[in-house]
Symmetry: D2
Subunit: 309 residues, 4 copies
């Protein structure tokens, strides 16, 4: 099956279930993947930020991918994050992902080291040349501290270095101009938004789909939102988005005086998935701060308000 161009729909960035000892819980991962597929997911993105890729060792990353490829068994495309600071290290992760059977790779710009548009373009060209899989750029300035420049993306789309973009920049204005330009220059290029709260607007603007962290908690909601948008029923899309935006408040369950935004959001996604029976254990990787009981109670409240529990 050739990789779809563009890839359309809901592609959840799958959580990585962990055991209390911090190892990958492959049984829970399989259960979560089945649930996402049953909910209508059109693709699955492993080892993204929601998958705690930055916290997993290389061996754990391989376990996640091998488990997912086996469990999904070709029913939808499996996209694999290859999150590393620079090109030589990304190439190693890419080789691992190809060996594990991933259908496409997702890489950020270089981070830690200060970079430059010319270096970013060369980075993606080298990764694409080194791994025989469609390559997605992952634009996530909150983590990488660089915004992928529009002209770099357009160049890499035009010469087919990149097959697509996961845009978690939150810069919807820049996304609009990119979509407009791509329509003329690279019509098969995939644009997926990673901004869970503005999916209706992004789809209205022409995005192909969404990679919603919150999709681990309510994949069916995002699928309904996507289907409403495909049907040009914007009233329904908006209503579904509003419901999901209210549910998104669970990401603020953790006390900001005690933990960072990652600990709170990922802890809440995992607590919710645990409450929904999808994970055996809600643990996040160290050094993230675990949610306390009061925070978990807030997550439970949000699930109930959204009729998920």
């Amino acid at each position: 099956m050739p990789f779809p161009a563009p890839l359309r729909g809901v592609v959840p960035p799958v959580l990585t279930p962990l055991t209390p000892a911090g190892e990958v819980d492959t049984a829970s991962l399989r259960r979560l993947l089945e649930h996402l597929l049953a909910s209508g997911a059109h693709g699955l993105f492993l080892l993204g930020s929601s998958g705690e890729a930055a916290y997993l060792t290389d061996a754990q990353r391989r376990t996640v991918l091998e488990t997912a490829v086996d469990a999904v068994a070709g029913r939808v495309p499996v996209l694999a994050g290859v999150i590393e600071a620079t090109t030589p290290r990304v190439l190693e992760r890419a080789a691992d992902a190809v060996r594990a059977g991933a259908d496409a790779l997702v890489a950020t710009a270089p981070f830690y080291a200060r970079t430059h548009p010319a270096e970013i373009a060369d980075h993606f060209r080298r990764v694409r040349a080194g791994a025989d899989r469609p390559l997605f750029a992952y634009d996530i300035p909150v983590a990488v501290h660089t915004k992928l420049p529009r002209d770099v993306l357009l160049g890499l789309a035009a010469d087919a270095t990149l097959a697509g973009l996961k845009d978690s920049s939150g810069d919807e204005g820049s996304l609009r101009r990119l979509l407009l330009a791509l329509r003329r220059t690279a019509p098969g290029f995939t644009v997926l938004t990673g901004s869970e709260l503005t999916v209706d607007g992004a789809l209205l603007a022409g995005a192909d789909g969404v990679v919603p962290g919150l999709g681990n908690v309510d994949a069916a909601g995002y699928v309904r939102l996507y289907e409403a948008a495909r049907a040009e029923d914007w009233k329904a899309a908006r209503a579904e988005q509003d419901r999901l935006a209210a549910l998104f408040a669970l990401t603020e369950a953790g006390d900001p005086a005690r933990m960072g935004a990652n600990s709170s959001a990922l802890g809440a996604f995992k607590a919710a998935a645990h409450l929904l029976g999808l994970l055996d254990c809600p643990a996040t990787a160290a050094p993230q701060v675990p949610l306390d009981e009061a925070a978990v109670a807030r997550v439970r409240d949000r699930l109930r308000e959204a009729d998920l529990l």
Copy 2:
């Protein structure tokens, strides 16, 4: 006429026409205001960033407001920017604006001095108490270097300190959650987006209207976009937004090696308005760098592509 709650529609942030010597060109200002009203503008925002407020002396600001209030003559609400670094100075500008007859005031959080959410809330409360006009918060982190916190805005909306918000933060996800919360707690509160490229999405999400800098160049386009959204004709809204997003490329007419983003964007808005016959002179205030002939030619090309010239 009581101030509308909410204020709905297209509220252009009006350019301040200048003479070659740098003085306010009141004749061009009147011509521009008539054009915007004839194009269907639902309100007019003087002395915002597009109005080069930061570059105008207090006397020039008064001239702008007195001219605008006289010219508009009550046909639509006149909103006046009161851009100053701190509360005591904002209160002086607010007194000037009230004396000039402005219908509402628009203030940012404190800038230059480092601030805090508690200080921001107190700032708006003091400005509201000191000036008997509806007060809008202006959220523009690119200038102020603070994002107005959602809970501060919700508090100031709930106790009617603020009548509305002009959101130029570009953070559409945060805007979505704000709109959702306001619907329950402050239904008459006005939310206007200042992001020209995502107006269809913002209106779909429930925003009341838009304050588009590009509206100085194509107000009729934004009015059509707004009317299509009001009629829930999202296909038409999206098409109009796409056309305006292409036109927006004129803001990059200036050479980034020679000038800042402000010089380029404001220079292009003024060059376009000059080419359209709305201003006698395209000059921007010092120390902005003027567009050269090649840049003006790029502006002209964008206008022609958009069938405006």
Copy 3:
């Protein structure tokens, strides 16, 4: 008396004493100025950040300058901050300062509006051309959100647009390279550091003096530090700097959960000056949050530890 080139020594950025009603307390200002002169200050900088310039109206700024020029009566140079967002507004403040009798002017790069090195250079050239006084650049990225580029400063020093620099950037490495280059290209150019905690190192590196906010509390200490450095007694300079660095902890007296860094630091400087009998009232301008009793007690403790009380 010609303005010294370079200006050397300790130039406190003088606090602006306020009455409980928020007006300038000229009697306290005169008392504070006499105290600073008696402590050995080599110059006085009015209307800087420590002077709460951003919070004062134009009339209040004029009162401060007129009072200071009259009180100082030519004993040392009076430098006047002309803090405004853009060139036309700075030119008005500069005219006010010249009329009030200031000996030199201190201006930042443009702020609020996004700017560019070419615009910054033009800004200083226009301010210098418009006001017949030596002009200092004020590099304070925490407020202005731009760092003055080294090559811009070197160009403006070489053609005598600028007479000096107040460097509050905290970037001591960049300062070192600037000092090195200036030694060859503009030997009479004044460099004053605004970083209170690294004055010994800055003087060792060749800076001409210091503009210490903490100098409002312990001017004599900074004068001793400066004199030790002039005498190349670096052991004494270091010991004095260590004592002042311990005293500087008073700037953290305010609760960061309740107020911003400006409120805490300026509130503490004023509380200390009040406890030392230099000001009738410790009030800071709105919307800064006043220190509570516990915070004032912490200020008192620091003063006692430093044997100032």
Copy 4:
């Protein structure tokens, strides 16, 4: 030999020589290490930013450490960078470094993932517990995008989690207050500055030594600077620092329109070491942009001005 507490002197962050094919050139590495030891280096820091750690694979990092430990043969302490985004991955690199025989480890705060002071403290505690070697914190906000909070560092010094700090934050004021506090609470704690241009001031302030990237090019200069400071000959220290600050201009050899600051600075260090005969090949790791001939000529000019060539 127990690890010195504190570690004093010049600890160059050793370049990683690469072959044209991008592999570790162990022969050049040995030559460079001998040169640094012969120049009087008091310790050696492998796999820091100057060592391009972010660009090296795990296997390459192991090769670097094994080579260095063998070559140094206990003559001075070998510090090993363990640069990874999060705790579990740092623990793996730490195990590698311990196996290779490193004498101490150097870790940053978590990056890529958003973090929090509580998480940073827990991170260092887990790394220390997991690897039986003295642990240094590496404060490098330009790469990590977090500044290590002073109170976190003081806590980790007080309970001996950390043996020392490499401060590349450039925040000399904060460093001064830290040094002052450490003197009372953790006298054996090592503080090394990573700021090459302000070493005289840092040593005057009480820092124990320096980790200068430029030390790969002129280690003897930094040793002379350090010895002058130890002897309290601050005039000599300043003169040496000024000479090194002039030499540091080589880091700007690369064209900023064509490459990032990392490419220029690391490229220049390697070009200089190549011109000095210390490396067979000046190549930097991909995707850094290589210096062109004109840039290398600028590096050569700086070396000649500094009488190194």
